[in-house]
């Protein structure tokens, strides 16, 4: 569904991503794990069109048999329209917009008012707190509520692929568990997930496959289970002695 081929990205004058190639298959949860500054967020920014790679291809196939489109030449809004939603690092809720407005703005490119209303109701059913606090400004929510809002907002565009940037960041452990279970239900609803995480143990447990990125390069790849039992991964990311 998504193929990165030898992608190089400059960010802030440094060569932050150096030839990353990775694949996300339809219906998978794939995670990209790595330390702070390894190039995870930069990679996601290039997929969603916020940054333009200096080299390489990012191919996306919205439908099974559709021709692949190269995202590197597209604008961010065209990429959203093609079916990719990006739930950014630190949630980035619009603090001046109400909770409901935050959700509605997620459906900005959609013109099917009925469908949007249905999806809004679905999200309210999934996260009742977003309904209760609908008229509250986004910045008045707690961290966990903001995460739910960010997920809901990302779903409102009806994406085929969602990019999650560190959804567990800054959340209490019990909420982290809950967030990963939500990712699992999103996948069950037919949305593919590409996840970037520092919380490697949780990410590997919930992922079908994973990649390890170090200093802008992919150093390891495998299924979630394989990587979780890999001794290098354990030493570097899972806190094993």
């Amino acid at each position: 569904m998504l193929d990165l081929e030898d992608v190089h990205i400059n960010r802030g004058g440094t060569h932050a991503v150096r030839g990353v190639s990775l694949t996300v298959g339809r219906g998978e949860i794939v995670s990209l794990i790595g330390a702070n500054g390894a190039g995870k967020t930069t990679t996601l920014a290039a997929i969603s069109g916020l940054l333009r790679p200096r080299k390489g291809k990012i191919l996306f196939r919205p439908q099974e048999n559709a021709p692949a489109i190269d995202l590197t030449t597209m604008k961010a809004e065209q990429i959203v329209a093609a079916g990719i939603s990006h739930c950014p690092e630190a949630r980035q809720i619009f603090g001046n917009l109400s909770v409901t407005e935050n959700l509605k703005i997620g459906a900005y490119l959609r013109n099917d008012a009925d469908g949007v209303a249905r999806d809004l109701a679905d999200i309210h059913a999934r996260f009742p707190i977003l309904h209760e606090r609908g008229s509250v400004p986004g910045d008045k929510l707690s961290g966990g509520e903001q995460m739910m809002l960010a997920i809901g907002r990302a779903l409102m565009s009806r994406p085929k692929l969602i990019l999650f940037d560190e959804p567990s960041l800054g959340l209490a452990p019990i909420l982290v568990e809950q967030i990963f279970e939500i990712l699992e239900t999103i996948r069950r609803d037919g949305v593919t997930v590409l996840l970037v995480e520092q919380n490697a143990s949780m990410a590997l447990e919930f992922s079908d496959r994973a990649y390890v990125i170090e200093a802008g390069e992919i150093t390891l790849a495998g299924t979630g289970k394989e990587l979780a039992s890999n001794s290098d991964v354990q030493r570097a990311y899972l806190g094993a002695a």
Partner: protein, 298 residues
């Protein structure tokens, strides 16, 4: 002091306040979305006044059509300023943007002097707009009523647009965070241009009002009202539309009452009074009356 005199002064204050409010809204909207003060904003008022003069003079157009022409003229000039000056400066240090807009202002003023000459011109309005309407002890000109009503209509229209429409929400989202707005599929260039178009259209209408009210226009007429509307925007809290409206009316009323109620010897100090008020407000409320904490864009 008689009651009719006081009422006259209040009406004059409301009119001046309406014009300040319309110009201040543009300062605030543009600041809100690009975090820059457009120093050429006052010159849009001049352009609106001359567009109005031309529209009135060229044909016997009905007043609503003249208003529409002025709105469009302001919007077009605002969009051109955004596209040619502010967009290329995006991402540069704030100072660069300030200086660039100052340059635009100087260019516009000198172009106007070259093309139109520095000589003030009489701004004639059709007789029906000059007619008097009696309200018990006072009579008010039709145009004066129109100015206040039009300003209120425009403010309500704008607020509803920004609050309730999808594009309005997208504009607020863009003002808050460019990158996340883009992730929602919002074309931020279009939103920024729209903010310039709306803000400038309102300033141009204020220019039309200015000419209609005071009967005389000139290429540099926008400078002082522009500065004062900027003061109004700061008093209200830059970035807040309701703050700009509130600041505009407070400043307009205060300025007129200051001149009208104090001994004539002091009336020469009206501008000193306005800027003194600014300093006072900033000392007590650095974010203005309705402003949020001023934050810079990450």
């Amino acid at each position: 002091m008689t009651l009719p005199y006081l009422i006259d002064q209040l009406v004059n204050g409301l009119i001046l306040g309406s014009m300040y409010a319309l110009v201040a809204i543009g300062f605030s909207m543009i600041y809100g979305i690009v975090r820059l003060i457009n120093f050429a904003h006052g010159d849009i008022l001049t352009i609106g006044a001359f567009a109005g003069l031309a529209a009135f003079a060229s044909a016997d157009l009905p007043f609503p059509v003249v208003i529409l022409i002025v709105l469009v003229a302001g919007a077009v000039v605002g969009m051109v300023i955004e596209r040619t000056t502010f967009r290329p400066m995006r991402g540069s240090p704030q100072v660069t943007g300030f200086i660039a807009s100052l340059a635009v202002s100087i260019i516009l003023e000198n172009l106007a002097i070259m093309i139109l000459s520095a000589q003030p011109r009489t701004f004639r309005i059709p007789a029906y707009l000059n007619a008097l309407v009696d309200f018990g002890p006072v009579s008010i000109r039709v145009i004066d009523l129109m100015i206040v009503v039009l300003a209120i209509v425009l403010v309500i229209a704008l607020t509803s647009f920004v609050r309730f429409t999808k594009v309005g929400i997208a504009m607020r989202a863009t003002a808050e965070n460019y990158d996340v707005a883009r992730l929602m599929g919002i074309n931020i260039n279009r939103m920024i241009m729209l903010a310039f178009a709306i803000g400038s259209a309102l300033a141009a209408v204020a220019g039309l009002m200015w000419g209609s009210k005071y009967g005389q226009i000139s290429p540099l007429m926008g400078v002082l009202p522009g500065l004062k509307a900027f003061v109004a925007a700061v008093i209200g809290g830059v970035g807040s539309i309701s703050g700009a409206v509130l600041g505009g009316y407070i400043l307009g009323l205060a300025e007129v009452l200051f001149v009208g109620l104090l001994p004539p010897a002091l009336s020469g100090y009206r501008n000193a009074f306005v800027f003194g008020a600014l300093i006072l407000v900033l000392l007590v409320l650095p974010n203005g009356l309705l402003g949020r904490n001023t934050e810079t864009r990450a």
